[in-house]
């Protein structure tokens, strides 16, 4: 249904469960994809799986000089940059009273500041093209809060406010900026939870199960598509009913 033929998409965190699936789905819709992440090996494996129209663009998002250079590298590799998916994220969980400045700052740097920098870096080309899609991956935790995740929740809520502000500024130029807020999705990040934690979470999810990365990727695909041109500044919650916002 959604055709992205001729569009070029940069996906950060493509070495992870959700990012990899987002890249697969955009690629399957016809887009050329730039796969970014810190670990080169899974990126190379994904690129090999996808075949043509896939480019590996390693980048450590805690290295701001590398972040600033990434949009230009993506354009050099793909020819243009029409779709940006800021998916990469880290967690450094700790109780608020025990959270160190470093735990706070590193999560803000990677999850919020690098998203800001990448959005800024892709705007020029999108404004000239009068077409662009920016999709920032937030989290249900950004809307509801979560004990032990003061830093992560702050960054993810920050992403939503930032996306809305940017959406205002560039809507008249054919650029949409939206957020997707996953609930609990089966990935390496949620595998770290103990069985007791998982059982407790499950009681809060009306759907009675964790989500699949493909269910996040489908939301991203919709927001990236030409059909979603009139959707901007919104947050699409994909959480099995865990928080009905």
């Amino acid at each position: 249904m959604f055709d992205l033929t001729g569009k070029c998409a940069l996906v950060t965190g493509a070495s992870g469960g959700i990012g990899g699936e987002i890249a697969r789905v955009l690629h399957a819709a016809g887009a050329t994809v730039g796969l970014s992440g810190t670990r080169t090996e899974p990126l190379e494996a994904l690129a090999a799986e996808l075949g043509e129209r896939a480019h590996v663009l390693p980048c450590n998002l805690s290295d701001f000089a590398a972040v600033d250079a990434l949009p230009k590298q993506a354009i050099e590799a793909m020819g243009s940059l029409d779709i940006l998916v800021n998916n990469a994220g880290i967690t450094r969980d700790n109780l608020f009273m025990r959270m160190s400045d470093d735990e706070w700052q590193s999560v803000i740097d990677v999850n919020l500041t690098s998203t800001f920098k990448l959005c800024k870096g892709v705007l020029r080309g999108m404004m000239k093209a009068r077409w662009g899609r920016i999709i920032n991956i937030s989290s249900v935790v950004g809307a509801t809060g979560n004990p032990g995740q003061g830093n992560y929740a702050a960054a993810k809520a920050g992403v939503v406010g930032m996306s809305k502000s940017l959406a205002y500024e560039v809507a008249s130029r054919g650029i949409t900026v939206n957020a997707v807020a996953p609930g609990f999705i089966t990935t390496a990040m949620t595998d770290k939870l103990t069985d007791d934690q998982k059982a407790a979470i499950m009681t809060q999810i009306p759907a009675g199960r964790m989500g699949d990365p493909a269910e996040i990727a489908a939301a991203v695909l919709y927001l990236a598509a030409p059909e979603a041109a009139y959707v901007t500044g919104t947050t699409l919650h994909v959480n099995g009913g865990m928080a009905m916002l």
């Binding site: 020029r124 404004m127 000239k128 500024e169 560039v170 008249s172 130029r173």
Partner: protein
């Protein structure tokens, strides 16, 4: 009118869709030519490309009128 002024005028006319006669030295992009703040950013981007120069943000803020733009670019 200088070559620079002519090229700047062409960009302004095309981007803002205004009549050439309105693009005079003291014409303010925002107050007289109907630009919004994002238009001024785009104009600066267009000037940078047309003339192969870099206009830093703090300098861009000083370019308020057609005359400012021609003056800045001529001295760049």
């Amino acid at each position: 009118m200088s070559d620079v002024a002519n090229r700047v005028k062409k960009i302004v006319v095309e981007h803002l869709g205004v009549e050439e006669s309105k693009v005079v030295d003291n014409a303010s992009f925002i107050d007289d030519l109907g630009a919004d703040s994002l238009d001024t950013v785009e104009l600066v981007m267009a000037f940078e490309e047309e003339f192969g120069i870099e206009i830093p943000d703090d300098a861009a803020e000083t370019i308020q009128t057609f005359g400012d733009a021609v003056g800045f670019i001529s001295n760049a």
